[in-house]
């Protein structure tokens, strides 16, 4: 009986669902606070994203007349559910191994694309011209960063000899983390470039640019629907960072201590890869971002892939 419950509990409570949501919001709060300190400001309290969500739940969702209502309301729900499922797919070494019935790497990669598609569809369903601009920019950006992501995953898979996340983690537990392997360093750099683009953080926060397109796809959203989008973004952070850790540095102690070490690794990755970056650079244009991704991250990831293939 307990085995039957294990799968839904994994999706709804730990590590998906509530745990991923809570931890994602804490990561966002830490990111905002540290970004403020880097700019010599005091910054909001750590739990500010929680307050934001509660406030959004208290307001009402207004649906524009010209919006396509079913899709307008369904897009955030689909995005959030997909991310909670994805969070249950990411292994935490020594603490949690995902149930093979959920799927593996391919399902995870597919689910990672769903929030971006949800955002795009939301932008177009809202009927506003700013939403349409956000939709087209999100699509271009996604085309740009999916390539390097697939090559990075491919490089790690070829190096570790397994295309399943549990297999990759097991290989690293036996042979040492991929972080220490020079063959995969270009792939690591490519992943660090993909990471802010996927999470919509400067310099790649183009689709949701506040001052340019009035928040693009999110323009017409308010109340609980907007809250769902914020939840989706928080859980996506947990998933992507978890994926990065699983690919490159999953090794660590077991049990509760392992969970704390994993959380610390996530915090360091967010602060170094996201906060430091977004406080020091401005926003790129969409054509610049597209050209950038088709040059360096793609080349680096391809190099890693080729070398890994050669020495396989």
């Amino acid at each position: 009986m307990l085995e039957d419950l294990a799968l839904p509990l994994a999706v709804l409570l730990f590590p998906g669902g509530l745990f991923a949501l809570a931890f994602g919001l804490v990561l966002k709060g830490a990111d905002r606070r540290v970004a403020a300190r880097l700019q010599r400001r005091v910054g909001p309290p750590l739990l500010q994203p929680f307050f934001d969500l509660v406030k959004l739940a208290a307001k009402r969702t207004m649906v524009p007349d010209i919006a396509f209502r079913p899709v307008f309301l369904a897009a955030p729900i689909i995005g959030t559910v997909a991310m909670m499922l994805a969070a249950a797919l990411v292994p935490i070494a020594g603490v949690y191994t995902p149930d093979p019935r959920l799927g593996d790497m391919l399902v995870l990669l597919y689910l990672l694309a769903v929030p971006a598609v949800a955002m795009m569809v939301a932008g177009s369903a809202s009927g506003s011209p700013f939403g349409a601009i956000g939709f087209s920019r999100e699509m271009v950006l996604m085309l740009a960063y999916e390539g390097p992501l697939l090559l990075v995953v491919g490089a790690v898979a070829v190096k570790t000899g397994s295309f399943s996340l549990t297999g990759i983690v097991a290989y690293q537990q036996a042979h040492g983390a991929n972080l220490l392997d020079p063959v995969l360093w270009p792939a690591l750099v490519a992943f660090m470039a993909f990471f802010p683009a996927n999470l919509g953080v400067a310099p790649f926060d183009i689709p949701e640019a506040e001052t340019e397109v009035l928040e693009g796809p999110l323009l017409e959203y308010s109340g609980p629907a907007l809250g769902l989008f914020k939840m989706m973004s928080a859980v996506k952070a947990v998933v992507v960072v978890g994926l990065g850790i699983a690919l490159f540095l999953p090794t660590g102690p077991e049990g509760a201590l392992g969970l704390m070490v994993h959380a610390a690794k996530m915090l360091v990755l967010v602060l170094a890869g996201m906060t430091l970056l977004r406080t020091s650079v401005g926003r790129m244009r969409i054509d610049q971002a597209f050209a950038f991704f088709l040059k360096w991250p793609l080349a680096l990831a391809a190099a890693s892939f080729a070398v890994a293939l050669a020495f396989a």
Binding site: A36, R37, L38, Q39, R40, R41, V42, G43, L276, S280
Partner: protein
């Protein structure tokens, strides 16, 4: 890579945020804030009303005297009234805590009254002379001030002439 150094320096130096509204705020000297009107010093020349840029100052001849009214929600805090007042009757303090709820909108006023007095010489209703302008013009002693205070302009001229003659006799030179 210079910006990384700046970011680390920022982290080390800590926030430069002012404590307000959780603490005191710094107010620079000479900040132009809430307007104060000194009715005793005012001589009713109405220069401030003339130069007020948004027309926030109104004088009104009332039964009781000359009324002064300034509405802070129309005042642009330019300080022209303070600059042009010959007797420093209108000054801008450093008080900038002026935010108020909508219900108090028309209570944000500075009012004053120059009261009518009955002239001690001829009994006519008149405004008494402003303290500052009297001091500037006559440099009176306390008794002389009490004399000049409640006189209409015509009687005041006579009293001032008498005062000057008395001073000349007493040997203080006559000219104030």
């Amino acid at each position: 890579m210079n910006f990384l150094g700046i970011l680390m320096r920022n982290l080390a130096q800590g926030p430069s945020t002012e404590a307000f509204p959780f603490g005191e705020a710094t107010t620079p000297k000479g900040l132009r804030g809430r307007v104060h009107f000194d009715a005793a010093a005012c001589m009713g020349c109405r220069l401030c009303e003339q130069v007020c840029a948004p027309g926030a100052i109104r004088f009104e001849k009332k039964k009781e005297g000359l009324g002064f009214l300034l509405w802070h929600n129309s005042c642009c805090f330019c300080g022209l009234c303070q600059h042009y007042c010959p007797v420093d009757a209108i000054t801008l303090s450093e008080d900038w805590h002026l935010a108020h709820p909508e219900s108090e909108k028309f209570a944000m006023v500075e009012e004053g009254l120059l009261p009518n007095v009955a002239c001690a010489g001829c009994g006519k209703e008149t405004l008494s002379i402003g303290v500052n302008v009297a001091t500037l013009a006559f440099q009176p002693t306390a008794e002389e001030m009490a004399q000049l205070h409640a006189l209409c302009p015509a009687c005041r001229r006579k009293a001032a002439a008498a005062m000057q003659a008395a001073r000349k006799d007493a040997g203080t030179g006559g000219q104030p």
